[in-house]
């Protein structure tokens, strides 16, 4: 704040070249772009969640309940495309990475602010193209979000826009990754060596490399589909001389690392939140950094575990299973370190902490059930069953979703400069958490009993657990509704927040809430590690 002048306006109030909505959608401020992503992602999430709920209503009883098979197949496809490509992949990096990466490393913005805005526009454009598949042409695509060949060539539904949408969204992801890599390399505050960098930027760094290196592969693959469908070039369709299994390889070479694009930043968020509420440094900072890099690296070489029943050679099965088990180790190391962070802490039981602690629990279930899928023999039994659906919902919804909501509550006072009603937030959390477990846990058992996924109808034997699961869905949505209303209301009417309401040690808690346009009056000089609690107190 300049001494001889009025205080600088916050980024929320700042008036630039444009007014009203334009001041947001043409803003190159990383914080405003972060919020643009937040609002777009929340909108899509509500759509995706309603679709998921409709599927659960349909599955509450065998046979036709509220929709026909065609609608159901369209809905699970759209649910998958929306949730994966529009929400979970961009999710944490685009919202909280954009908003907090520059602040956490003591920078005024990302390296390429205009490119950053372009990423958001590409994202919106890709989303519009992907969603247009619902309304144009011969009806919504019904291939599942994986677009497996040759079904995706045979179906008469409107598949190309969905594929093109995913292709365009890839560019948004690549540009964000590129921007973050350069930002982290070039724009850290003086004195912030690599090992003095907080863990959320570290995980964003690992993620950014995956975005940059893996996304082009799915881009090429999706273009190959377009070429095959329009020009009849036989890459994947056996009728044209192609190989459907090649498609699966190319698809998972990207889509498995994409899971790490989703989960790594979630791990970063948790590594930020736990020290703040335990009031002590993260346990094993270096171990967490090393495990982040290992996950990002080994994660490239495990895609084959999606294909254990597809007919790979024994050697490939061996190698992919082995590597999949290896990638479990760095994740386990993180869990051990998170729990140890609480040891001899002075734990404040606040909303973000509840989210972070429940994250650890659901992430453990997601991770441990991943071992079942890494082992070849057991994978064969549960592959393409409800077990897999439960597993990845525990990871990408339990993991990424819980971390997202943890981050949203943790950084909410900083983003809006207002506090939220913790009583209502905690109520929302409890209901959401219980609903989540009831929704997804029965699906593990259903899968073990043999219920295939993407089933509109099922045999009587699977009925009971499906009822439990559907009830859980209603409960979870209700919990989400509570916490969502609470945050929306608090963003407008909450009490003004102080600079550092939780007592966080990292740089974002040393600047105003909400931050000024430039974040820092003076770029800070970094002399100590990121989780040093000397002289740090909640104010």
């Amino acid at each position: 704040m300049s001494s001889n002048n009025l205080p600088e306006p916050s980024y929320l109030e700042y008036k630039g070249r444009f007014k009203g909505l334009f001041a947001w959608i043409f803003s190159t401020d990383h914080k405003r772009i972060g919020l643009l992503y937040l609002y777009s992602i929340m909108t899509f999430f509500i759509v995706g969640a309603i679709l998921g709920l409709l599927m659960k209503f349909e599955l509450i009883a065998p046979g036709k309940t509220i929709m026909d098979a065609k609608t159901y197949n369209g809905i699970f496809t759209l649910h998958g495309i929306t949730m994966i490509f529009l929400i979970v992949i961009p999710g944490l990096p685009a919202v909280f990475g954009n908003f907090f990466l520059p602040i956490l490393i003591g920078a005024k913005d990302v390296a390429f602010p205009r490119l950053n805005l372009l990423s958001w526009w590409i994202y919106i454009f890709g989303a519009v193209v992907a969603l247009s598949s619902q309304f144009l042409g011969d009806g919504p695509p019904d291939t599942g979000w994986t677009f497996y060949a040759p079904y995706s060539f045979k179906t008469t539904t409107n598949m190309l826009p969905a594929v093109m949408g995913a292709f365009i969204l890839g560019f948004s992801s690549i540009l964000t990754g590129l921007n973050f890599i350069v930002t982290i390399h070039r724009m850290r505050a003086p004195g912030m060596t690599w090992l003095k960098m907080p863990l959320f930027p570290w995980t964003l760094y690992g993620t950014a490399w995956i975005q940059l290196l893996a996304t082009p592969i799915v881009g090429i693959t999706l273009l190959m589909i377009v070429a095959e469908r329009t020009l009849q070039i036989g890459f994947f369709d056996p009728a044209l001389g192609g190989d459907p299994v090649l498609y699966q390889h190319l698809f998972w070479i990207y889509s498995h690392p994409a899971v790490y694009i989703m989960i790594l930043p979630a791990m970063g968020v948790i590594s930020e939140i736990l020290p703040t509420f335990a009031r002590k440094p993260i346990f094993g900072y270096k171990a967490i950094v090393v495990s982040t890099i290992l996950i990002a690296f080994i994660g490239y070489f495990v895609w084959g575990h999606h294909m254990f029943t597809a007919g790979m050679s024994g050697t490939a099965q061996f190698a992919f299973s082995f590597l999949t088990f290896l990638v479990a180790i760095p994740s386990a190391i993180k869990v051990f370190n998170w729990i140890s962070t609480l040891y001899k802490g002075s734990i404040q039981l606040r909303t973000p902490f509840y989210w972070a602690a429940s994250f650890i629990f659901v992430f453990m279930i997601g991770g441990l059930t991943g071992l079942v899928l890494g082992s070849v023999a057991t994978n064969v039994h549960v592959h393409d069953t409800a077990f897999v659906v439960a597993h990845f919902h525990f990871i990408v919804f339990g993991g990424v979703g819980f971390a997202f909501l943890a981050a949203l509550h943790y950084w909410f006072p900083k983003i809006y400069g207002r506090t939220f009603d913790e009583g209502m937030a905690n109520t929302g959390w409890v209901i959401f958490f219980i609903g989540f477990l009831f929704l997804y846990f029965p699906m593990f058992i259903l899968g073990l009993k043999g219920m295939p996924r993407r089933y509109f109808d099922y045999v009587q034997d699977f009925h009971g657990l499906n009822i439990v699961s559907s009830m859980g869905a209603v409960l979870m949505i209700f919990g989400f509704f509570l916490l969502f209303i609470n945050l929306v209301r608090s963003a407008r009417f909450g009490k003004p927040a102080s600079k550092n309401p939780w007592g966080g040690p990292t740089l974002e808690w040393q600047i105003a809430s909400p931050p000024t346009v430039e974040n820092f009056d003076k770029i800070p000089k970094i002399t100590k590690g990121p989780y040093d609690f000397t002289n740090v107190k909640p104010d």
Binding site: P150, T309, F336, K344, M364, S375, T378, V380, Y455
Partner: protein, 314 residues
């Protein structure tokens, strides 16, 4: 869930399950207990001042090495349990030609007998020589821990031994379009004696049906059901993927031939052409490419019976 040992594959798979799930439950419960204990023990009111601990290298090594050993064990049992699934079937195996198409299974036995349920004897190696005609399907018999994708253009064999007589579900587990969830059938495991009786008793289904009913329309109906035609063509006027049989015969229809519309009358010839070359004359409002040719799957005689059946649906 893991104790019934219903096939030669289930033992190895279930052993891997038990090992992995036991270790997982141990860690899940143990770590959750520690997590909850720490939260209670070190909450602010109990422990107002946090100790500024940064880490412990010995612990890091311990909790890297122990999980590493455990995952290697899990990997090993998973690998060993899978090995029998990929081995070649023994010489005395009963070979059954298994055809998967949208959205029906068809099993053809060594003497040409066909069935839409999989009937097998207990205790004998069964080799399924599998082929998919349109898109990828995946054969899954949960009770036997058996699953294999069937990729069009790549015939594969899966083999197993069923241990106990009984009936078991057989699912398609690779999403294959509209009626994917109806691509279900039953595995009927018989004792060797029962199986021999079943197998010798009637070598041809048509003959089998002919004994019960004499009308050729009802034999045609049996063939239609067995080939799975009714997955896409209803008999009650419901529009599924293809036209319904109801009132179809001798009706005038607009068909599209090479992009040009033309009016035809549904007669014996048209029906025969539609079974052999289904994508040349497509009825207006329906999609091309969904039905595959049944050229080598039905005899001329069977086609005549099917036509008799279609005539009878009105």
């Amino acid at each position: 869930m893991f104790s019934s040992n219903l096939s030669n594959l289930s033992e190895g798979v279930d052993k891997a399950f038990i090992i992995i799930l036991s270790i997982s439950f141990f860690f899940l419960i143990g770590l959750t207990a520690v997590l909850i204990y720490f939260i209670f023990r070190y909450r602010e009111s109990k422990n107002p001042v946090a100790s500024q601990i940064h880490g412990n290298n010995t612990l890091e090594i311990i909790w890297t090495v122990i999980p590493l050993v455990l995952v290697l064990a899990m990997f090993y049992f998973g690998w060993i349990g899978w090995k029998p699934m990929e081995s070649t079937p023994p010489d005395d195996a009963i070979h059954i030609k298994t055809t998967a198409r949208m959205w029906r299974w068809l099993f053809r036995y060594e003497d040409g007998r066909q069935s839409d349920t999989l009937v097998i004897p207990a205790g004998k190696p069964i080799a399924l020589d599998m082929n998919a005609l349109d898109v990828i399907h995946s054969i899954y018999i949960p009770a036997f821990r058996m699953k294999k994708d069937i990729v069009p253009g790549t015939p594969r064999t899966a083999w197993f031994i069923a241990n106990s007589p009984g009936t078991y579900d057989l699912f398609c587990t690779e999403y294959c379009g509209l009626e994917h969830s109806t691509m279900i059938t039953t595995v009927i495991v018989l004792t060797q004696d029962e199986y021999d009786n079943w197998y010798v008793d009637n070598t041809s289904v048509s003959a089998d049906v002919a004994e019960e009913t004499s009308s050729s329309a009802s034999i045609g109906k049996q063939i239609v059901q067995q080939l799975g035609c009714n997955a896409c063509h209803s008999a009650d006027g419901t529009k599924i993927v293809g036209p319904s049989y109801l009132g179809l015969y001798s009706r005038k229809e607009l068909v599209v031939i090479d992009g040009e519309e033309q009016e035809i009358t549904v007669d014996d010839d048209y029906l025969r052409r539609s079974i052999i070359e289904p994508n040349i004359e497509i009825v207006e409002g329906y999609n091309k490419g969904l039905m595959l040719s049944y050229k080598d799957q039905v005899t001329d005689e069977e086609i005549n019976l099917i036509i008799e059946y279609i005539k009878s649906v009105r």
